[in-house]
C-alpha cells in the first residue's frame, strides 16, 4: 500500500552539535535500512528546502505510523501523509 510523505525538517539552532550530527547519522541509517527492506521506496530532496518527498510501500496505516514515529528526526519534523492508489493510466 503506497503513501506519499513530505517531511520538512527544522533543527533548533541551539541543538548540541554532537547530538545533531549523531541524530542525522541515525536518521540516515534508519532510512537506508527501510529502503533496503523495500518499505521506503523513494526519497528525493526538495530543491532549496531541508525537506524530502518520499514514497512508502507498507502493509498498513499502523506500520506507516510506526515507521514515521520512529524517525530519529521526528521531533523536529512537520510531516504530511497522502494515501495513494494505482492510477488507471499507469502502465
Amino acid at each position: 500500500m503506497l503513501f506519499a510523505v513530505r517531511m520538512d525538517v527544522d533543527l533548533p539552532r541551539d541543538l548540541d552539535p554532537v547530538v545533531r550530527q549523531e541524530t542525522v547519522a541515525r536518521e540516515k541509517a534508519y532510512s537506508q535500512d527501510l529502503q533496503r527492506s523495500g518499505e521506503w521506496r523513494h526519497i528525493w530532496r526538495i530543491v532549496g528546502q531541508y525537506s524530502n518527498v518520499s514514497i512508502f510501500d507498507v502493509a498498513s496505516n499502523e506500520r506507516l505510523h510506526e515507521i514515521l514515529w520512529g524517525l530519529p528526526l521526528f521531533p523536529y519534523m512537520t510531516i504530511e501523509v497522502t494515501p495513494l492508489a494505482s492510477h488507471p493510466s499507469a502502465i
Copy 2:
C-alpha cells in the same frame, strides 16, 4: 532531472459527454506514451480525489512545461510543480 507534479482535475459539469470521454482517452494515451519513453516515471491516484501525484524525469524546465502544457486535460487542471534533487540518504 526530476520533478514531482500534482495535478487536480476539475471537469466542468456541462462538458459534452462525447468530448469528455474523448479528452480523457487522449489524456491516457498521452500519459502512457510519455511513461513508455521514460519521461513520466510514475503516476499515482490520490485516494478520494480526482488527482494524481506524478514524477517526471526530463532534460529541462522547457521540456517539462511543453509536456504539461500539452496535456489534453490541461485546461481543466490545477498543477503544482516541485523540483527535486537526489537525497543524501538515498541508496
Copy 3:
C-alpha cells in the same frame, strides 16, 4: 484499516430536481449498504453544514478509493482523507 473522511457537498443550484432527488436517494442506499457490510463504520452530520464526518474500515487504500470514487455524490463533493492508527491511550 481506519480512515477519517470529511465530505462537503455542493449541489449545483440548476441541477434537475428529479436528478437531484434520485442522486441523493442512491447516495443514501450506497452508504447504508457499506454501513451494513461494516466498511463504513460511522457517519455524522456536521452541525450547520451540508457535510459529514465518516470513519471507514477498509482492507486497503485501493478499496477506500474505490468506495469514494463510486459515491453517487462524488462529482459534487470535496473530500478530505486522514489515515488513522490505533492510539496508545485507547482502551
Copy 4:
C-alpha cells in the same frame, strides 16, 4: 451530544523529562477514565502526527469544555472542535 475533536500536541523540547513522562502518563489515565465512563467514545492516532481524532459524547458544551480544559496536555495542545448531529443516512 456528539463532538469530533482534533488535538495536536507540541511538547516543548526543553520540558523536564520527568515532568514530560509524568504528564503523558496522567493524560493517558485521564483519557481512559473518560473512555470508561462513556464520554470519550473514540480516540485514534493520526498517522505520522503527534495528534489524535476523538469523538466525545457529553451532556453539554460546558461539560466538553471542562473535559478539554482539564487535559494534562492542554497547555501543549492545539484543539479543534466540530459539533456533530445524527446523519439521515446513518443506520
Copy 5:
C-alpha cells in the same frame, strides 16, 4: 447551550427577483419566530458585508442543526459554528 454562528450570504445574480424577495421575507419571518421563542438570542449585521453574527441558545447540537438547515437562505449561505461555554469572568 450557546453557540456563536456566522452566516455569509451569497445570492446568485440570476436568482428570479420574485423568488429572491420572497426568500428574504421568509428568512426574516423564520428568524423573528426563533428570536421570539428565545432560541435565536442575538443577530447583528457585520459592517460592509452581507453577513451576520448570531448567538443561539438551544437544547442540543441536533436542534441547532435543525434550525440552520431549515433557514430559507441556507442554500446560499456559508455558515461557521462556534460552541460557547460560560466564561469565568462573566458577571
Copy 6:
C-alpha cells in the same frame, strides 16, 4: 456602537507563576468593571480554547482601542475586531 471581539490568549510557559496569577486576576477585575459599566456587554468562553468571544458597546473606535490596549493580558493576546450594525431582522 457594537463590536464583536475575539481574544485568543497564549501565556508563555516560562511566565513567573506569581505574575501569571496576578495578571489573570487583574484581567478578571478589569473585565468585570467594564461589564458593570455596560461597555463590555457579553463575554463567552470558546469550547476547548483559551479564548473568548465578546461583545462591546462603546462610544467610538478610540474608546474600544483604549479598552483593548489596556487589557492586562493584551501582550499575550491575538485580537480580532468585527464592527457590527443593527440587523434588519432583529426584533
Copy 7:
C-alpha cells in the same frame, strides 16, 4: 470615526454593457458626493488591481454600513473593513 476599507471589484463578464457603464457611472457619482460631504476622505487605486483603498470618516458603524451597502457596485465587491484610531506618533 475613521475606518480603512478595501474594495475589490469583480464585474461579471456577461453583465449587460449598458448596465455596466451605467452602474460604474452611478458608483462614481455616489463616491464623489460622499467625498464632497467629507465622509469618504480618501480613495486610491491599488496598482494592477480593480480595487481601491479608502478612508472613511463617519459618525458610527451604522452609518458606515449604510454607505457601503448602498454602493452601486456592492453586489460585485468583496469588502474588508478595518477600524482605526489615532496613533500616538501622529503629528
Copy 8:
C-alpha cells in the same frame, strides 16, 4: 508616489525595558520627522492591534525601502507594502 503600508509590531517579551523604551521613543521621533517632511503622509492605529496603517508619498521605491529599513522597530515588525495610484473617482 503613494504607498499604503501596514506595520505589525511584535516586541519580544524579554527585551530590556530600557532598550524598549528608548527604541519606541526613537521610532516616534523618526516617524514625526518624516511626517513633517511630508513623506509619511498619514499614520493610524489599528483598533485592538499593536499595528498601524500608513500612507507614504515618496520619490521612488528605493526611497521607501530606505525609510522602512531604517525604522528603529524594523527588526520587530512585519511590513506589508501596497503601491497606490490615483483613483478615477477621486475629486
Copy 9:
C-alpha cells in the same frame, strides 16, 4: 523603478474562439511593444502554469497601473505586484 509582477491567466471556457485568438494576439503585440520600449524588462513563463513572472522598469506607480490596466488579458488575470529596490549584494 523596478517591480516584479506575477500574472495568472484564466480564460473562460466559453470565450468565443475568434475573440480568444484575437485577444491573445493583441496581448502579445502589447507586451512586445513595451519590451522594445524598455519598460517591460523580462517575461518568463512559469512551468506548468498559464502564468508569467515579469520585471517592469517604469517611471512611477501610475505608469505601472496604466500598463497593467491596459493589458488585453487584464479582465482574465489575477495580478500580484511586488515593488523592488536595488540589493546591496548586486554587482
Copy 10:
C-alpha cells in the same frame, strides 16, 4: 535553465553580532561570486522586507540545490523556488 527564487531572511535576535556580521559578509561574497560566474543572474531587494527576488540560470536542479544549500544564510532563510521557461511573447 531559469528559476525564480524568493528568499526571506530571519536572523535570530540573539545571534552573536560578530557571527552575524561575518555571516552576512560571507553571504555577500558568495552571491557576488555566483553573479560573476553567471549562475545568479539577478538579485533585487523586496521593498520593506529583509527579502530578495533572484533569478538563477543553472545547468540542473541538482546545481540549484547545491547553490541554495550552501548559502551562508541558509539556516535563517525561508526559500521559495519557481521553475521558469521561455515565454512565447518574449522578444
